[in-house]
């Protein structure tokens, strides 16, 4: 089109955007700002031990366990659905995994994939009911919150003959070659070496205060990177945003919205299963209260990370930082003189601020007036 090319070069509206306004458009900005604020807060109020290596590992461990769930929840929220059953799913998958290893004595190479498949099936059931009935996922998964929690209790009693705790996982997996990938610490060799050279804090006997990086932190980073890759760089990611943004428009454009949403429910359930496997192996047992109220904390972390409740917007990196904020607050308060029960007040306050902030951001992005 020769008659339009000249316009292309000169357009008075073509203005280079400032770095600030470009950053404002990133969904994870709020969460990163939150991390900075919370860090400053604890630098002032908390014992300096909080920001030593062992202190960081201390708060990153619960952050990682929650974060794996939060990233799953964030992807599902971007896809326009909720899953309130992930906390109960942790208990249910934990029961399945513990029963597989202890009661049936299966090796991890069988028990772990079986747990994931089982979780994915439950997740797909959730998704299938939501898609087929057209009911809000809020209600359907609320039902599963109770169903799965109840089944975990009943199942535990059946497996143990009346107890609500199933022990003996540690003995059952002793020596299994897969165990180091899901429990304990990674890079313990390098840490011991660092300790020998006196580059990290050591106990009096010369061993490192931090024996290694807890495995859940490694998984947390892997899951965050993987989710970010999928969301930002693959067609599937585009479909997730589209399915959450406007399912009708997405369907009309050829996006398999139903398949996308059911897959997301499965991914979320698998995140819960991963947390279940890691924590059950770590504790050596499972009980019916495992993952209690984690669904709310995960959704809070996802919202702090910039996810909109209406779907179609958010990021996995945001949920990553949202979970870190969570970990810093829950552990950080123990380093301060504050009563630890302030934690819940803090969490609620963060959520409220995050939602208000996200709303303002969305208006900017969509140009709503």
């Amino acid at each position: 089109m020769s008659d339009t090319t000249p316009e292309a070069v000169t357009d008075e509206r073509m203005k280079t955007e400032s770095l600030g306004s470009r950053l404002m458009k990133r969904p994870e900005l709020g969460a990163i700002a939150g991390v900075v604020l919370v860090t400053i807060f604890f630098l002032i109020t908390a014992d300096s031990a909080m920001f030593t290596l062992s202190g960081v590992v201390n708060f990153m461990t619960p952050a990682a366990q929650l974060g794996i769930l939060a990233i799953g929840a964030a992807m599902l929220m971007i896809g326009g659905e909720f899953d309130l059953s992930i906390g109960s799913m942790v208990a249910f998958a934990g029961l399945f995994f513990a029963a597989a290893t202890v009661t049936f004595g299966l090796p991890l190479i069988v028990a772990i994939p079986a747990t994931f498949v089982f979780a994915a099936l439950v997740g797909s059931l959730n998704g299938f009911i939501v898609i087929r009935s057209g009911l809000p996922s809020f209600i359907v998964t609320l039902a599963f919150l109770f169903i799965l929690r109840g089944l975990s209790l009943v199942g535990l009693k059946l497996a143990t003959g009346g107890s609500t705790q199933l022990r003996g996982v540690r003995d059952a997996i002793e020596g299994d070659w897969l165990a180091p990938f899901f429990s304990g610490d990674a890079f313990s060799g390098p840490f011991a070496w660092l300790a020998e050279n006196g580059w990290v804090e050591t106990f009096n006997n010369g061993t490192s205060k931090v024996p290694g990086i807890p495995i859940e932190i490694i998984w947390f980073v892997i899951v965050a990177l993987l989710a970010t890759w999928v969301l930002l760089r693959t067609p599937a990611g585009n479909w997730i945003f589209a399915a959450g943004g406007d399912p009708n428009a997405a369907t009309n454009s050829g996006v398999p919205v139903k398949r996308v949403k059911i897959s997301l429910f499965m991914v979320t359930a698998c995140c819960a299963a991963l947390v279940a496997i890691i924590t059950v192996m770590d504790a050596g047992s499972t009980d019916s209260r495992r993952g209690f109220q984690k669904e709310f904390e995960a959704i809070i972390a996802a919202v702090i990370g910039g996810c909109l409740l209406t779907g179609g917007y958010g990021s996995a990196i945001g949920a990553f930082f949202g979970a870190i904020i969570f970990g810093m607050v829950v552990i950080g308060l123990t380093y301060t003189d504050f009563d630890q029960d302030w934690f819940q007040v803090f969490l609620g306050g963060m959520l409220l601020i995050a939602v208000l902030f996200n709303n303002a951001i969305r208006k900017r992005v969509t140009g709503e007036r």
């Binding site: 316009e7 292309a8 585009n238 009708n248 428009a249 969509t366």
Partner: protein, 273 residues
């Protein structure tokens, strides 16, 4: 009349075979006759306006054309061959693209992501298969420039565009993916004056690329500004097709209103009724 010539820069193709020809299309929903014998054709590089008041059957007709509905009776010829579209996908693959009023756009997503939604090009293989962002961004910027819109950036969200610009994105997307026929469902109905003129200019650009445009409207002025031929639909029937210059706005208006002035119009329509 200035408006008449504003968006019409080229002569309409005269003796070209139509891309799509629909003959005596009837569509019944139960005992309701939505279409009672509609004939319509579109040639490459023309803008054929389909006019009609609310309830005239415009929507049913374009849905039949775009494969959403199957006609109860009648024949559809596509590039000379009789076709039977089973689904909107079939029609889309043949080259009939429809831009519905909701535009199938997601405001929170970037222009590029909307542009390629559901049809993302990829590079790499196996686990490293990823969206070809560079190609996508370049193609989006280029397509939009051809339509006379310079985006600030390809990652600008659709929500920040005006209604007319969104319409243009939807049109550009259809053209980019190889539409031979572009059906626009009331593209100007919700737009202001300036935005309307942008969309009409876009229609003219698309037509010049050899795409046949079906422009559905109930606004006679918008239709006359850009159309080559005009077909009026009333109560499920075509009242006739007029060439550009053969008909006045008043006459079109009367036809749309119910054909009360039929007798008077018969002459001016050249016996096509």
């Amino acid at each position: 009349m200035t408006e008449d010539s504003t968006f019409h820069h080229g002569g309409a193709p005269v003796d070209v075979a139509p891309i799509v020809q629909m003959k005596n299309i009837e569509k019944h929903f139960g005992n309701i006759i939505a279409l009672a014998g509609v004939s319509f054709d579109v040639k490459p590089g023309e803008c054929h306006c389909l006019l009609g008041d609310n309830g005239a059957g415009k929507s049913t007709f374009i849905k039949t054309m775009s494969g959403v509905h199957k006609p109860t009776k009648g024949e559809i010829y596509f590039e000379g061959k009789q076709m039977d579209f089973g689904s909107p996908r079939d029609a889309m693959e043949a080259g009939i693209a429809t831009v519905f009023q909701d535009l199938a756009m997601i405001p929170l997503m970037s222009v590029t992501r909307n542009f390629f939604m559901g049809r993302e090009p990829t590079v790499g293989r196996g686990p490293f298969k990823r969206m070809d962002n560079d190609t996508m961004n370049a193609a989006t910027m280029d397509s939009m420039r051809k339509m006379g819109i310079n985006l600030r950036a390809p990652d600008q969200s659709v929500g920040t565009l005006s209604g007319g610009e969104r319409q243009t994105v939807a049109i550009a997307r259809a053209v980019y993916f190889g539409a031979k026929i572009l059906i626009l469902d009331e593209p100007t109905s919700a737009l202001g004056v300036r935005q309307t003129s942008n969309v009409l200019a876009t229609i003219d650009r698309v037509r010049k690329q050899g795409v046949g445009v079906v422009f559905i409207s109930h606004n006679v002025r918008h239709a006359l500004a850009v159309g080559d031929r005009f077909t009026v639909l009333n109560r499920g029937k075509t009242l006739g097709t007029a060439e550009r210059g053969e008909i006045t706005p008043e006459q079109l208006q009367d036809l749309m209103a119910g054909g009360q002035e039929m007798a008077q119009l018969e002459g001016s329509l050249g016996g096509t009724v």
